[in-house]
Symmetry: C2
Subunit: 197 residues, 2 copies
């Protein structure tokens, strides 16, 4: 339509999650109409982030400092490690302000289907952090999926020799959720997880 530069830009934008060809065209057009204000700042931000951001050697979080902001924060409780599948889960927990300890990012879950075994996850790092650090509790904040459950079982086994307390996040009715729209598995988990009122 308007030369290879525009086609290439739309093609790359369309690959972003949440954008398809249609919204990629809209985004490209909006930026092309204000190149100085919209395109160049984004180009710079992308290049800067690609240059600066690295996985934290300690926990696997993505940050422009290493150890990451959370691991380096003296106010975080280093005795409680929250284990998550990915950085997106860590971000979600941080936005919710519900965990004041530190994290450990596995980089995935065990998955027979996608052929992910223990050697593909950041597991040895977790064990050695528990053994060498002053850790009292490991919270497994994994998805309520088959792979999440498999991974939680495996991690519980692996961590047993260290003597650390291993917990899993609760499962049940989401806050704000009505019971009649929930699936059977969630209802079963909610009943199993009942507590005295």
């Amino acid at each position: 339509m308007g030369g290879p530069e525009i086609d290439r830009l739309i093609g790359l934008l369309a690959k972003l999650p949440g954008l398809g060809p249609r919204s990629a065209r809209r985004a490209a057009l909006k930026m092309l109409q204000q190149p100085e204000m919209r395109m160049l700042p984004l180009a710079t931000a992308l290049a800067e982030a690609a240059r600066a951001v690295r996985p934290c050697a300690e926990c696997g979080n993505l940050d422009s400092q290493d150890p990451c902001t959370i691991c380096a924060d003296p106010h975080r409780d280093r005795s409680v490690i929250c284990v998550v599948e990915g950085v997106g889960d860590l971000w979600a927990l941080e936005r919710a302000l519900v965990h004041r300890g530190i994290y450990h990012v596995l980089g995935g879950t065990l998955s027979a289907l996608s052929g992910l075994g223990p050697e593909d996850l950041n597991l040895s790092g977790l064990i050695s952090r528990v053994v060498t650090g002053n850790v009292t509790e490991v919270i497994l904040a994994l998805g309520a999926t088959v792979d999440g459950a498999t991974t939680a079982h495996f991690l519980t086994d692996q961590l047993r020799p260290t003597g650390v307390a291993v917990t899993r996040v609760g499962q049940g009715v989401p806050i704000g959720g009505a019971l009649d729209v929930l699936d059977d598995g969630t209802l079963a988990a909610a009943l199993r997880g009942r507590r005295s009122a």
Copy 2:
């Protein structure tokens, strides 16, 4: 969460049409996990497009060559100019392969509400193209809105002295559309625009 670089990137992505804060985070995370493959190519494509793409001096289309690919194409019929509000409309018509003439991008419509007058649109360019070129027909492909209709009336008046044939795109039932979901205005336009079967 992960330093100022990540925050800035998410903030800029969230401003793109079609992306909100949530999808901007997902897009940023996906790119951060493959910086070489995903971020740097997009950064380069943005910078390249910002550098290369300019409005065509003839028709107002955005292209990395000037005159644009369409204006420079010897196979296009230069006697028929299709007038559109914006480059997005031009792209839509080009994808549909329905116009083999050339274009003229107004850069907006007359709008009392947003205070856009004739001097804000690329009008004089259109008149002089019609006067100096060998133009036989001007197709007004403007939206079926109040502003679109106002602009069409104004352009028809302005073009009358040149003697060129001025037409407007048809209005009515969209192809694939059912009548019972259409609004009253569209139904009225469809009845007004009826033709012998």
